[in-house]
């Protein structure tokens, strides 16, 4: 019995951000000590639907950035890790792939800012893309590293012996097993990019206003209602991804 209660308790804790955000996004004039005595309103959600809304614009920007970044990062990481797995012996290759990722992204951004300025990439969409690629590609390389095992190598040799070229190898030997992993990596990179704040804020000079930056903006304006709304929007893609890919996550998450 206590076990059931514990599980329910855990579930509640995990759901609590969602609940708090919903609560706040429908509230206004939330003065102390009101819990339910203050007015509830849909006006914040209505501003979401108005076209000049900063929210809509930043959703668009965030989606574009995350989609592009995860697509490129997954693709490149896949092949780069193949190169490392097959053609290198030292484990330092893989270790060094951790470096960009393990230094907090915002610290990396601070140190690289000079180069971004020189290339004229600060405050630009392209600059943010590049900056986020610098942390997602290494992640992707690490992610795929264990995929390129001797089994896959043997299969590639088999295809080669039977007269196939690289494309055939891809289609028959590699992709069938890799499909699931490619999808998971895509989603992981998507999440990294989607959640990114520090690096995006610093290199973007606040000009590229992704959803996370908007959340902070509302927080600093002491507008918890819009911040909650933006937070809810931030939660939607990950929740959707989680729902759609449950089986993938269960099998593959621990590879990261």
């Amino acid at each position: 019995m206590t076990r059931k209660i514990s599980i329910t308790f855990l579930l509640l804790i995990f759901l609590q951000p969602l609940l708090v955000l919903l609560y706040l996004s429908f509230s206004t004039q939330w003065h102390y000590p009101s819990l339910f005595a203050h007015p509830f309103t849909t006006q914040h959600w209505q501003t979401l639907l108005s076209e000049s809304s900063a929210l809509i614009k930043s959703i668009g920007i965030s989606i574009m950035i995350s989609t592009l970044v995860s697509f490129v990062a997954t693709g490149m990481g896949f092949f780069i890790s193949r190169g490392i797995a097959y053609y290198t012996k030292s484990r330092w290759w893989l270790t060094s792939a951790y470096f960009p990722y393990v230094i907090a992204p915002v610290v990396l951004a601070v140190m690289l800012n000079f180069y971004f300025l020189k290339m004229g990439l600060t405050g630009t969409f392209a600059g943010i893309l590049l900056a986020q690629l610098l942390i997602t590609i290494p992640y992707s390389v690490i992610f795929f590293h264990s995929f390129w095992s001797s089994t896959i190598l043997e299969r590639e040799y088999l295809v080669a012996t039977l007269g196939g070229n690289f494309m055939t190898s891809l289609r028959h030997a590699i992709l069938p097993s890799a499909k699931g992993l490619l999808v998971v990596c895509y989603f992981q990179c998507y999440l990294i990019s989607w959640f990114e704040y520090g690096l995006t804020q610093y290199i973007g000079v606040g000009k590229v206003e992704t959803l996370t930056i908007l959340v902070y903006r509302y927080i600093s304006e002491a507008n918890p209602y819009l911040a909650a709304l933006a937070g809810l929007l931030l939660l939607i893609p990950p929740l959707v991804l989680l729902f759609v890919n449950r089986s993938f996550f269960i099998q593959n998450v621990w590879k990261s």
Partner: protein, 283 residues
Amino acid sequence: MLKNTVIRRSLAGLFLLLCALPVVLAMGYAALYSVGLTGLQSDGFMLQHWATLFQGEFLSSFLYSLWIAGASSALALATALAALFTLRKELTDKRVYRMLFLPLTVPPVVIGFVIYQLFSGGGILSRVSYQSGLIDQISHFPEFVHDAYGVGIILAHLFIGFPFFLILLLNLYQQNNLDELEITAASLGAGRKDILLRVHLPVLLKGIFPVVSLYTIFFMGAYEIPLILGQSSPQMFTILILEKLQRYSLSDIPVAYAMALFYAIICIGTLSWLMMQYKKRWN
């Protein structure tokens, strides 16, 4: 084979370009700036900025970050282990297991924000306490955010760390067939506590060690969460770096670069050391 070498070279080149070069460039610039060899305000080579790094607010900030990182990891691991041993049967149920993934969908920004709205003086829990008569004044509500121990920050990290460690532990448990080991040990007469301590724990800890270390480093470099929940002094290391970069005193900027470089060196050093340890054990 010639073709292999060409591929090898181009891939290695690509890898260097995208992964290693930025780090090298980053640290290079930071190094130059911090010793005064570049930058508008620079006066020439000086090690003074590095000297200030090991006193006063930098030292306390560094120690504070270590505390937050260590406490967050330790607490997350402890609670995950506790949950593993008490609720394992329930957790193998597919639906329950899936619920563990929920917190992973929450970004640090949101977690920081939610914890603030829940635990701050004017927050939800405070209002509940007030209305239920537990406190009669807002100032009597205990300090969870902007406090000396970083309780709010640790709670936020716990929210992310606990489920993730638990997922890993469950996987480790299965992979190492600890179920069967338990049965064998029991048939040999071992008591429940003994099994836990001597059989399960060592295997689990060894398996989860790399991830826990990695997460400790991540917690140390936390930025978004302490930005919302942290206190004035000492601050988390990353926040201090950004502050020094953007404060009024322009002479603080080289120090900020020194701090960033220092932090990068520590992270890379720790990671490399861990890698060597891990490979040693693995072999």
